[in-house]
Amino acid sequence: MAGAETMTGRRASGGRAALLVGLLLAAGIAFTFAGLATRLPSALWWEALTAPRAEAAELVFRFGLLPRLAVSLLAGAALGLSGALFAHVLRNPLAEPSTLGTSAGAGLALAFATLYAPFLLEAGAFWVTLAGALAATGLALAIAWRQSLSPLALILAGLVVGMVCGSMGGVLVLFEHHHLSALFLWQAGSLAQNGWQGAAALAGTLAVAGLACLLLLRPLAVLELDDAGARGLGAPVAAIRLGALGVAAALAAAVVANVGVVAFIGLAGPALARLAGARTPGTRLAGGAAAGALLLWLADQLAQLAERLSGVGPPTGLLTALLGAPLLLVLLPRLRDALPAPAPAETDRKGASVPRMAVFAAVMLAVPTMSLLLGRGGDGWWLALPGDPVLDWRWPRIVSAFGAGAMLGLAGTMIQRVSANPMASPEILGISSGAAAGATLLVILAPVAGRSGLLGAAFAGAVATTGLVMALGRRFDYAPQRLLLTGVALTTIIGAALGLVMLSGHPRLDLLLRMMAGSTYLASPGEAGASLVLAVTGVGALVLSARALGLFGLGAPVASSLGLPVRAGRLWIVALVSALTAAATLVTGPLSFVGLVAPHAARLQGFRRPLAQGVAAMAIGGTLMVLADWIGRTLAFPWQMPAGLIVSLAGGPYFLWLMLRRRA
């Protein structure tokens, strides 16, 4: 891009950027002075700093507001520098602590340590968050490694690592109500301070990291060449990369340890610096840090303003997530990716053989039977006989779990076929999150709405999200990886918005948690029947669209040349997928990953034609959910764990493993 620009064009864009920076600075200064003055008259500022009295306002000014100001600048600079380092080393302008999963990993590690190993925190939260940050970043890098760290593959891997960390964090919240406030505050990134300790710690980390960057500056400039060129100059490319990545991860970890997860500053800061004309590694790093500081400072002042106006403000990290995730969507189409789209299907497997089919069928029959008959009671495990009244409780749950899993399996097969992308699924594309968001909105606006109301709201949410993903996808002609990225970015935005609802302490929080976790508990016989009817209808729709799905698998251009009305076909299938996902999400929750896992397992079993794969994916998805429901009913008896939660704890890591294993 840079090379194509003329000198005048560059100067003009630099001028606009300078104007933007000037405006941001002016706004920041105005907000800050106004904010500080409402807490303490400016005539007293000097006194509060030099000879503080035990006046409340002066104390808050000196130990609360000023350190918070410093922390917003320091944490912003740390995130900006971290983002600039990641972007430079990985040659990927979207790489930064939140898109690589770094911050989410650090946050999860901190939550785990707080709940289960608080003694680890005595040596300082930094070491815990550093371990989490390194592990998550390492995982994202390892996944993208197979695809030569292709920019899109890397961001996709990072966002999914972040998503899985987030859903695990959600599980912790579900089981540890006691610590809810502390966990939410951490996950949401509150910048409130109670002294200068946090600022001092961040300043120390930033100073060490800055020094390391100075030392790395020349080697980093060498990385601007391609790897072979850099090696030709005698540079230890791998060592430089690892060193710089370590520094970047440590910066992000320090921020999480001191203020919590603050999203997207590492993306926006370096982007602003590039816009302002930073071209050399040195100016990019320094500019990224400065811009990051500016942006977080401004975001925090906004959060404080909201707090002054409404009494209780949104945590700053949640605000940056809401403001920053759309930026990701804007920057996405600009990302160049030389790599071809991934091959749509694996071809090295044998077709379905008779013994394999027999085993498959046996499992499909055995799991529901076991789930129906084997259970726990007050005296331990026992086997129910046909006719036992306990079966009246179990069968609606089993049937409704099966129906939901089958619908997701079918929706997953369809979306994978239509996008010619084996990694697509209702969960990854944000369709499930959209359904959950729709239902959540209804619970807030009309708490008494029944199940059919919820279903309608979930469908509306699913359709809206799918429509948005597709509309955004048109700009890059539905390129598979970009589509996934768009969906994951939407999921992130919806997740942040739902986090805000959770933080508001809504009285129907239990209902919301149930929806996020996914439970079959309320399944009535009628509802179970309806879900089965829906699934069967889905099979009918699958039969009707099997030919189209097969053609989509060849890619849109080929499909079109073979006479498929691509646009109409796409709309039809998208509507089907939305309906199936909405109905299933009410039972499974938004992050089950069944829609991803089931079509894969079906293909691994040798079912490769659209119709066969769809039906097999339904059987597998349904069986998976039935198994999860059984585990949930028996594992912690008499306590019950939501089936969707259990399936997502297995499904998320399976997805990562799948990505790790896959070749470009």
Partner: protein, 309 residues
């Protein structure tokens, strides 16, 4: 930091009086099991105060942890989460009746398949304490123990009056009632709408918190809000280890150490009570608050550095 209790004579007498009147702890035998399954913690608490124990209840383990004074018999069976009580287990136990609140409306058709469900629907328009009293009355009617309910409520009133009398005329400061949030920057502050605030009112104490409250009566807010009323006392609900950790973090904070109520040593720990309890919790927490507020007339017992000032 061991608080040197120096109650004066009148306080000592009053507190001795409350100990004698205490409805729990003083009772000898554990209540007998009734063939009733209970879905809510507050219903179980009130039921135990009426001298009956449920056969089974949702979240029995949590109840035992949060309401240690209620002495739930070990024979009472666990039913799991109150939003998803285990129906198979419930059927196995075969209660004659299920007691639940309006919050379980969605579950009623399921529960009805095991036993008739009685929804106890106390009037919650006049605050948590009044709701608790109404709950006790309605539960008494439902269980055929209206007399016991009247007696328990009258005893509670007497005790609250006694505690209020013991504190009267002492010119006690307004009180912040808070729980610490780990991290050292935020607090849960309790205010109007919450049972703990009702306990303060019944004692004749003023709640120092002026923040706008949601209907359930508590907010998460920055620690600096404790400086809004420099003359106030701070009562910290003690949840054990998490509270100790949070206090250790706060000791490192200059803002915390310099907050007027903390700096002046007007901070006390109070054994935690559930905000979702009813009349027995109200009386319990009122007694504990009175217990820590009365000796607060003595010189500062608490100083942030851990040494007596």
């Amino acid at each position: 930091m061991a608080p040197a209790f120096r109650p004066n004579r009148r306080t000592a007498l009053a507190l001795a009086g409350t100990a004698l009147l205490a409805p729990r702890g003083a009772r000898a035998a554990a209540p007998a099991l009734a063939p009733v399954a209970v879905m809510e913690l507050d219903i179980a608490e009130a039921m135990l105060a009426l001298g009956v124990a449920p056969l089974a209840m949702a979240e029995a383990s949590r109840f035992r942890a949060r309401f240690p004074g209620s002495r739930l018999p070990a024979a009472c069976a666990e039913l799991g989460a109150s939003w998803e009580p285990n129906l198979e287990r419930l059927q196995e136990l075969a209660p004659a009746r299920v007691l639940a609140s309006r919050d379980r409306e969605m579950l009623v058709p399921l529960l009805e398949r095991v036993a008739p469900v009685t929804l106890i629907e106390p009037d919650d328009t006049r605050g948590r304490a009044a709701r608790g009293a109404d709950l006790m009355r309605r539960l008494g009617d439902a269980l055929g123990r209206a007399g016991e309910a009247q007696a328990a409520l009258a005893a509670a009133e007497r005790q609250l009056a006694l505690l209020r009398g013991a504190l009267a005329g002492r010119d006690l400061p307004p009180v912040f009632l808070v729980a610490l949030v780990e991290g050292g920057t935020h607090l849960e502050i309790y205010g109007a709408g919450c049972l703990l605030d009702d306990a303060l009112r019944r004692l004749g104490l003023a709640n120092a918190c002026a923040l706008p409250m949601p209907s359930y009566g508590w907010v998460i807010a920055g620690i600096e809000h404790l400086a809004d009323r420099p003359e106030a006392a701070v009562l910290v609900l003690d949840f054990g280890a998490p509270t100790r950790r949070a206090l250790a973090q706060l000791h490192r904070s200059p803002l915390w150490r310099n907050l007027p109520p903390v700096a002046a040593g007007r901070l006390r720990l109070v054994e935690a009570a559930s905000v979702w309890g009813g009349v027995p919790t109200l009386v319990d927490i009122a007694g504990r608050i009175a217990g820590v507020m009365a000796p607060s007339l003595a010189p500062a017992l608490y100083s942030p550095t851990g040494t007596r000032s």
